[in-house]
């Protein structure tokens, strides 16, 4: 074989050797019983047609390449945003391994999370014992300040009652009676990770504000001037939360970030392992009930949460992942209105810089067509930013978007001349997107790492914005919110545009007459 102990080839090179190529060709010719190349080509081309697209969009049962994840993932996201909090997923342990690896691949940080490791007998007799043992073990082994319980499908299917289970566990002494255990039912067969975020966040707030599952009196609200801030499920949470804090500090606003993941997913390498780091202080969560208002950056991540908060007398405000100039303007002005603090000159300068940068480069984005997919709020924010830049977000797709999202997108398209040819696709998957990219091609695709297959198949350059980003590192450390964040987004988009331009002009002696130094 081509492999040689003196010079071991890695996977990039190994199978390119003549022996392997020959072996694969023989295998294919003699044993694989494949369709003739011409037939394969015919079908491939057919899959690019309008006719195929119609069949593709008529799909009722099958989902191919969905752009969403499950509820407990969102619940784990919420849990690690609180001081010393251990996410505890009631259900099978395999699911939990997924959440941990999913987050770790994106954030390049460990994500601590345990499960109650339900097995077949638990599924038959109920998971109570697993909850009782699980809480006891987790409490004694990992010494958390709080445990946030959510569920996998398994527990939901058999109908385990978290509230009752936790109560029983406390009675049996798994954890002290006054120890904070929040809970949320998060079945993966309903909604997506953004629903899970909503449920878990609601669970935490409800726990602290509404009497800790009936064990203490409900909190009485004494309104102060403070503002609560909830970020929503956000792949850029490390950079974003820090940026939002900086902005609030600049404005001298009193605030509480409810769910602050910026430290736990960005711990320093200094010899100390931090199982928990940063996060919203539990006292602060309780005191947040007294705030004047609560802001959510992502409406579709926090629908139930905000309802709960509103019922406590807060003014609530929901944005749709606001990015860019107008998006940030809107955000800051609302913060200014709610807090009574003016927007400082420094932020106004940053605004001017972003406007300046857009003006400098507008010609390269203006009139370009984009396809976007991702979470409902993110796609909305990005589409609004593109319209602001004079680009056309022609296809906007959210597998976890609903009709309300689609209507909101349509209203956005209608508000701009650049939105005339744009359409929102709620509940569709990336295989639908594939058809769209063939029948109505665009210049660029915006999406997460999974978009790279679409990039390969359709030749549409992929701009990586979203969650998860697995094949590029550290994007989550840069904010996309605020004017600085808008600048980061602009640069990300422009980089791809110029890279594409270079890639199309870099054949020496053929196309490199346009391979320019200055773009």
């Amino acid at each position: 074989m081509t492999q040689d102990a003196d010079k071991v080839l890695d996977h990039f090179e190994l199978f390119r050797g003549a022996e392997y190529k020959e072996m694969f060709a023989n295998k294919r010719a003699n044993f694989e019983n494949t369709h003739p190349d011409a037939e394969v080509d015919r079908v491939r081309e057919w899959a690019k047609t309008k006719e195929y697209q119609e069949k593709n969009f008529a799909r009722e049962a099958l989902v191919v390449n969905p752009a969403k994840a499950c509820q407990p993932l969102g619940a784990v996201f919420v849990a690690v945003g609180f001081e010393g909090t251990l996410p505890f997923v009631h259900g099978s342990q395999g699911c939990v391994a997924y959440y941990r690896s999913h987050f770790s691949r994106h954030f390049k940080e460990p994500t601590s999370c345990v499960s109650s490791s339900m097995t077949e007998d638990a599924a038959v007799f109920g998971g109570l014992n697993n909850m009782v043992d699980g809480l006891a073990n987790a409490y004694s082994m990992y010494k958390p300040k709080m445990i946030a319980v959510s569920t996998t499908c398994m527990a939901e299917v058999i109908g385990d009652d978290l509230n009752a289970f936790i109560k029983t566990a406390k009675e049996k002494g798994s954890v002290p009676a006054e120890f904070d255990v929040t809970f949320a039912h998060t079945p993966a067969f309903v909604g997506s990770h953004v629903t899970g975020y909503d449920n878990a966040m609601k669970g935490v707030i409800e726990h602290f504000w509404d009497g800790k599952a009936g064990t203490v009196p409900k909190l009485e609200r004494a309104e102060n001037g403070s503002i609560n801030f909830i970020g929503g499920f956000d792949g850029y949470t490390v950079g974003n939360i820090r940026e939002v804090k900086r902005i609030f500090d600049l404005m001298q606003v009193e605030y509480t970030i409810i769910g602050d993941n910026s430290d736990v997913w960005d711990t320093p390498t200094d010899g100390e392992f931090r199982m928990y780091d940063g996060g919203t202080k539990l006292n602060d969560v309780a005191n947040a009930v007294n705030a004047k208002a609560t802001i959510s950056m992502q409406q579709f991540c926090t629908e139930k949460t905000l309802e709960l908060v509103r019922n406590h007398g807060h003014e609530v405000l929901a944005f749709n992942h606001p990015v860019g100039v107008a998006g940030t303007d809107h955000f800051l002005m609302e913060v200014s209105r709610l807090s009574g603090k003016p927007i400082p000159a420094e932020l106004e300068k940053e605004r001017g810089r972003l406007v300046d940068a857009i003006a400098d480069s507008n010609a390269h984005i203006h009139g370009k067509k984009f396809a976007i997919y991702g979470d409902p709020d993110l796609t909305y924010g990005l589409a609004a930013f593109l319209l602001e830049l004079g680009a056309e977000p022609v296809h906007v797709l959210a597998t976890n978007g609903n009709k309300a999202w689609a209507a909101k997108m349509q209203a956005l398209f209608d508000s701009s001349p650049f939105g005339a040819n744009c359409k929102a696709y709620p509940g569709k998957d990336l295989w639908h997107m594939r058809s769209l990219l063939f029948t109505e091609p665009v210049d660029y695709l915006i999406g997460n790492t999974y978009g790279k297959y679409l990039e390969r198949d359709t030749g549409t350059p992929l701009i990586r914005i979203g969650f998860p980003i697995f094949d590029r590192h550290h994007h989550h450390r840069r904010p996309v919110w605020g004017y600085q964040g808008g600048m980061n987004l602009l640069i990300t988009i422009l980089d791809k545009i110029f890279d594409t331009m270079d890639a199309k002009t870099n054949v020496a002696g053929q196309t490199d007459y346009s391979y320019d130094i200055i773009r």
């Binding site: 100039v325 107008a326 303007d329 800051l332 002005m333 200014s336 003016p342 927007i343 106004e348 605004r351 001017g352 406007v355 300046d356 857009i358 003006a359 400098d360 507008n362 010609a363 203006h366 009139g367 319209l387 602001e388 830049l389 004079g390 701009s416 650049f418 020496a508 002696g509 490199d512 007459y513 346009s514 320019d516 130094i517 200055i518 773009r519």
Partner: protein
């Protein structure tokens, strides 16, 4: 240096130059170079002028003799395009260091020439003099002569160190280098009655290629283009052309006029910017070729082509008229001739509120008057501050200018379109003008301009940065050109 001084005097004494006609003997002696104001923002130097004029020759190795600054800052900074060799884009410099300056850089230069020849085998090597070796007395003429003899390949000295003057002077000195060392040193394989030279055309964004098909259709051969997409050999045998078109009037007029004197090649000043001007230039090329013996029917063909292309272009521009009617344009051009763009913009329904005539000749100004009327707002030498003021007061909706004025427009929150050398769109010829109008339309209607002009929405009246900027003119931005 005396020979360089003589050369500069000679260049100043250009009889074909429109400006020179109107000067007294004394003024003419003084030369064209306006003394620069120390501390004022200034444009490029003579080295830069020489380099940009010759760099578009594609199969030539352009070797800059000097410290890293000169080539380091100018490497591949022009949008010229090549249909063949990419050698012109390689950055060659002697990168002189302290020791060279103490002991002289001639040996290093000689070695550099030798190495380029061995590694790249170029058609020729152009050696550019810069300030430092000129001051320490490196004789690049002698080194080039010796190297050419030793290595058997053309090594052309371009003696235009930065300190002798401004960019425009460098353009002309580059032309002198061609006249002295290149033109007339080779013979073409064959000639035709339809051979022309195009002088002072740099094929920026490949725009010559938008005009070439028209010439091809008429059977007219570009024997040599100086210097856009040019080859060394083409320049060497360019003296066999029957006629010449002088594109950028001030840059290389000495080349055109001296070739007329030496080789009887009649030339005219023309432009491929604008629809009418493209047509006029095609007619003029045909007229000159017929005067040199081409058959009369060439004019007939030319008229047919002009009629067809004009109709096509106007039809294409028509679709933008609704969007563009009444929009006001401020035109600040460098090399691109103002009047030729003016006519094209008026065609699209745009109103020209002012045009710069900084580099325009008296004839240019006359033409602008013809096109824009007697009250044409001609700006001789607009400072960035005036430009800013004009834009800020919204007396214009868009500014067309070179890259260096871009920021004046942007800071005044005004749409801006690049029509100088760093632009990415080709505006030459009929299709080019349609594209220019398209780009203006795009630029005007980009949503960012509305954003740019609006103060931050939380601003109370009187506190926006725009208001502050207007209140404090001293803080206005400054930019070169």
């Amino acid at each position: 240096m005396t020979s360089l001084n003589a050369k500069i005097q000679e260049v100043f004494n250009e009889p074909a130059c429109g400006v020179n006609h109107n000067k007294t003997e004394k003024e003419r002696k003084k030369g064209c170079t306006k003394q620069l104001q120390p501390g004022g923002a200034a444009g490029g130097c003579a080295f830069d002028g020489a380099k940009i004029a010759l760099q578009p020759f594609t199969d030539v190795a352009h070797l800059v003799h000097g410290p890293i600054a000169c080539e380091g800052n100018s490497w591949d900074n022009r949008g010229s395009k090549s249909s063949g060799s990419a050698l012109w884009r390689m950055s060659f410099t002697t990168d002189m260091n302290e020791t060279d300056i103490v002991f002289g850089g001639e040996k290093r230069l000689y070695k550099a020439i030798k190495e380029i020849g061995e590694k790249y085998d170029p058609a020729a090597i152009f050696v550019y003099q810069t300030c430092v070796p000129a001051m320490i007395g490196d004789d690049i003429n002698a080194v080039c002569k010796a190297a050419a003899k030793k290595f058997g390949r053309p090594v052309i000295p371009v003696n235009s160190p930065g300190f002798v003057g401004q960019k425009n002077l460098g353009n002309k000195l580059a032309g002198e280098a061609l006249l002295d060392h290149v033109i007339g040193t080779a013979e073409p394989e064959y000639t035709t009655p339809y051979d022309i030279n195009i002088i002072g055309e740099y094929n920026l964004s490949g725009e010559l290629w938008q005009v070439k098909p028209l010439l091809d259709e008429l059977g007219i051969r570009i024997l040599s283009c100086i210097s856009g997409d040019g080859k060394y050999l083409e320049a060497a045998y360019s003296h066999r052309a029957k006629a010449a078109m002088m594109v950028c009037s001030r840059a290389m007029i000495n080349v055109a006029s001296k070739m007329e004197k030496r080789y009887n090649i009649p030339f005219f000043e023309g432009s491929f910017y604008g629809i009418g001007d493209t047509s006029d230039s095609l007619r003029e090329i045909s007229r000159l070729l017929i005067s040199r013996g081409a058959p009369d029917k060439l004019m007939f063909h030319t008229e047919a082509l002009v009629a067809r292309e004009e109709q096509k272009a106007f039809a294409a521009i028509e679709q933008f008229k609704v969007q563009l009617a009444g929009k006001r344009v401020l035109l600040i051009t460098g090399g691109v001739k103002s009047w030729s763009v003016v006519a094209a913009l008026q065609e699209a329904g745009l109103e020209i509120v002012g045009t710069s005539v900084k580099k325009s000749t008296k004839e240019d100004k006359e033409r602008i008057k013809q096109i824009m009327g007697e009250d044409a707002h001609m700006i001789d030498d607009m400072t960035p501050r005036e430009m800013y003021k004009m834009l800020r007061e919204a007396r214009a909706d868009i500014m067309l200018s070179g890259g260096r004025s871009q920021f004046v427009a942007l800071k005044a929150a005004m749409p801006w379109l690049d029509i100088n050398q760093e632009r990415h769109h080709a505006y030459m010829g009929y299709v080019g003008m349609v594209d220019l109008v398209r780009q203006i339309e795009k630029s005007l209607y980009n949503p960012i301009w509305e954003q740019v002009r609006q103060p931050a929405p939380w601003d109370v009246n009187g506190e926006s940065w725009q208001k502050k900027a207007q209140a404090a003119p001293a803080a206005l931005p400054l930019a070169a050109e």
